[in-house]
Symmetry: C2
Subunit: 349 residues, 2 copies
Amino acid sequence: MRFIPTGIAPLAATAADTALASQLQHILDHKTKPLGALGQIETLALRLGCMQRSQTIALTAPQVVVFAADHGIAAEGVSAYPQAVTQQMVANMLAGGAAVNVLARQHGFALTVVDAGVAAELPAHPSLLNRKIALGTGNACRTQAMTAEQGSAAVKTGMDIVSSLPGNVLALGEMGIGNTSSAALIFALLTGTAIEEAAGRGTGLNDAQMQTKLQALRKAQQRHAAAQTPLDVLCAVGGLEIAMMVGAMLQAAHERRTVLVDGFIASTAALVAHALEPHALDYMVFCHVGAERGHRALLAHLGAQPLLDLGLRLGEGSGALLAWPLLQSAACLLNEMASFESAGVDQKV
Amino acid sequence: MRFIPTGIAPLAATAADTALASQLQHILDHKTKPLGALGQIETLALRLGCMQRSQTIALTAPQVVVFAADHGIAAEGVSAYPQAVTQQMVANMLAGGAAVNVLARQHGFALTVVDAGVAAELPAHPSLLNRKIALGTGNACRTQAMTAEQGSAAVKTGMDIVSSLPGNVLALGEMGIGNTSSAALIFALLTGTAIEEAAGRGTGLNDAQMQTKLQALRKAQQRHAAAQTPLDVLCAVGGLEIAMMVGAMLQAAHERRTVLVDGFIASTAALVAHALEPHALDYMVFCHVGAERGHRALLAHLGAQPLLDLGLRLGEGSGALLAWPLLQSAACLLNEMASFESAGVDQKV
């Protein structure tokens, strides 16, 4: 797709970038604490400084965008909840009652809910962006989830939405009954991971339901085994909300925004974005490893070190927002802690 | 010690407590999310509700108290930093430049720094509580770290400090060159853990220095092998800051305050508090498992499930404050999320 930004700069693109990374490491090493004693928070501070090309970090106007869409594969009985829950949860988010609302309020995130492809016409609402590409995807067990045109349009829409938003921090969430199935298929097809390793119990399948899900996923996997490129895979088995997240991640990285990646489904969008533009990963913070089977393996595949490990499996961006204060802490510690020199504290003997 | 509060109520002391726990679980299970999808955050919300004996959670006037003291065993070369760093870091905290200051400002915690036993007379400062019991402890390789009177006075002082503070949330931190040695000895003597499993590299020992530390710890362990009761062990090898944290934890639990436990050293105070009053543990939230060897094993011994796992090893209460927003999230989610009924969302098929 020609519209995909090709200008995503790796964090160490230039000599100046490399010099900055050294300076940041020097600053962190001279803060009044033992070397490396703040662990992953220090790594995070270094990465954020590099993303912002600055020795101080300013996190501004944080946004959370939740993309909602339905999945044709839900017809195979892959979810514990009826498909209508997608639109009901969109309504819940617009009314302020979902987990993402609570956490967005707690942390001062602006929330945008996007109808990427819910299988119903939704009433207009000031907080709802109607960017519906289709009334849900096709059932990947029988057909393409998306046509190439739909897939491209969804990615492009995700890019445009990010362009239109302020700030330099973007948390991405999703809502869509059936979307752990689409995510597991993307993961399996793009990486060769066995479907049994890629797929989990989603919203809470029992053993029999899980067998039904695996059967459907194997069928879809076989049907689309020939899908080659990341976009082929995305269109064959992906969801409209996943495709929009791919676009959103690429655009955010292009603009050097920090992307907060949530759970398993958002992580498969990161996998596709990374396959399209490897350096997109440089701008992502993987906020947690969740309880959904496959998430840990997917993060390992990406070489990502998540911040939280709390057994979450909700989506909506909830895990991203739970981890957010750690980014703020990293910024504050880099910006505000005294150095050994400035505080008159002795260093190692 | 007769002054230790004996009225610490377990969270399930009465039929009303048990009924409340069931009500809280029911409320959590009917929030608009799959059952258990918020993982440890739900467990945390349930516990906080039980601590506060309420179906809603109100976290008020959060306090962080940092206890500073020196350790006679530092003379054995067990730390990478000179002993003077204890008082220098106290000065840094009073000037606002330490990690705990940055995080306390970020999260709106009131900070109290306590001189529990720094090996120097410290200049008065409005934010410093002078509760010095001694100019550091005795060297546990050669003598008792504290007399029984000093140990009792330190525990009592920790209790009194908590009594005098407002709010229902208490984060406890420490600063003391050599205190990972005292903590490792407490852990080893109280639980029978091998000293090699209990002791870590502290502020960053190299291999040779680590051998020196282990040698000193073995010597102290042998000298005090006969110490039987938790208080015997505390006085034999403990630190004045650890003893004050023990008292602070007991008093906080007695008042049904939530205690945020930081790293390895604070966790050994929790171990002693638990040994004195098992139900004190009911009021503790173990905020992280750190990089110091022994911490993971100590938490497993206590059956504690930490919130964060970020390779931290700073102390000062820093890990407690990094985890704090997760408690706020747990409270907000319990208090504010819609239920399936109120939001009109379908439940499982």
